[in-house]
Amino acid sequence: MGDILSLISHHGYALVALAVFLEAIGVPVPAALALLAAGTASAVGKLRLGLVFASTVPAMVTGDALLFTLGRYTGWTLLGLLCRISVNPETCILRSAESFYRRGKMTLVLAKFIPGINTMAPPLAGSMNMRPFQFLRLDAAGAILYISAYVTAGFVFSGFFEIFARGIKNAGRAVEWAVLVGLLGYVAYRLRLYWKHRMYRVVPRATVGEVKRKLDEGSDIVLADVRSHGYYDSGASRIHGSIRLEPNTLAESVKTLPKDKEIYLYCT
């Protein structure tokens, strides 16, 4: 916080606006922390509160509008990309869309406060054909609410944050340990994923050439498409002659499949 406060004081509005813009387009930067620091810098006279809003609100809305436009023109492709980093990519798009639709357009106003949804909301609105002016109105309201909350907190509690910043400086060793524990936790998580995926390696695999040869020879095989993402846009393609196997309802979907035939599965 101390370093951030010093950076904000020196580089001012552009830096906070950049942090807000980057966060809006999905880059994991601590924009909330930058806004808190901007509020504190305003309280001690380093920045002007009005200019903080004048630089950050347009930056956030611009970033959101960019994702909204991409969502609108790429259909579900952008969401598919964003969903790949989720815990369950197959259900991510469908659940996000249904939740967004069910909870209504006002979700956009509060989306900034919900990690994960904050980046997904603008492309979702675009993909779901929300009218651009309606989007801009709701998104601007959300941006003002989000920025106000953090800047005001930084402004009102400026004394507390300065004490907090000094505390962090004094507790440098503790911070180093916290970072180390975090890194170890991340390595453990990656190892767990590695072991989890390792058991999938025993599944037999075939190249596209081998499968094509079997088809040409007239072998009685089944080709099954297990993508979810490819099924949201009209005009999506799949391997000729393949069937759909919905990965979210597997137990039901496989009931009609024969157990005495080779079944070749594919995704994207």
């Binding site: 995926h197 999938y200 993508r227 196997l245 994207t268």
Partner: protein, 52 residues
């Protein structure tokens, strides 16, 4: 991990007694090889909600 979904589904199906296998490279490898594809039939498309 490449073929993550198909490998996971194939692993589960094999546990259920199916002779499931994975196509290496998936749809992209198939298309790159110039093999035949088809448009997903309208009945199979998942309809998502739209605001308009």
């Amino acid at each position: 991990m490449r073929e993550a979904t198909s490998a996971r589904v194939a692993h589960w199906m094999r546990e259920q007694g199916y002779d499931a296998r994975v196509i290496v490279g998936g749809l992209r490898a198939w298309e790159r090889s110039g093999y035949q594809v088809e448009t997903v039939p309208a009945d199979d498309l998942v309809q998502l909600p739209k605001f308009n």
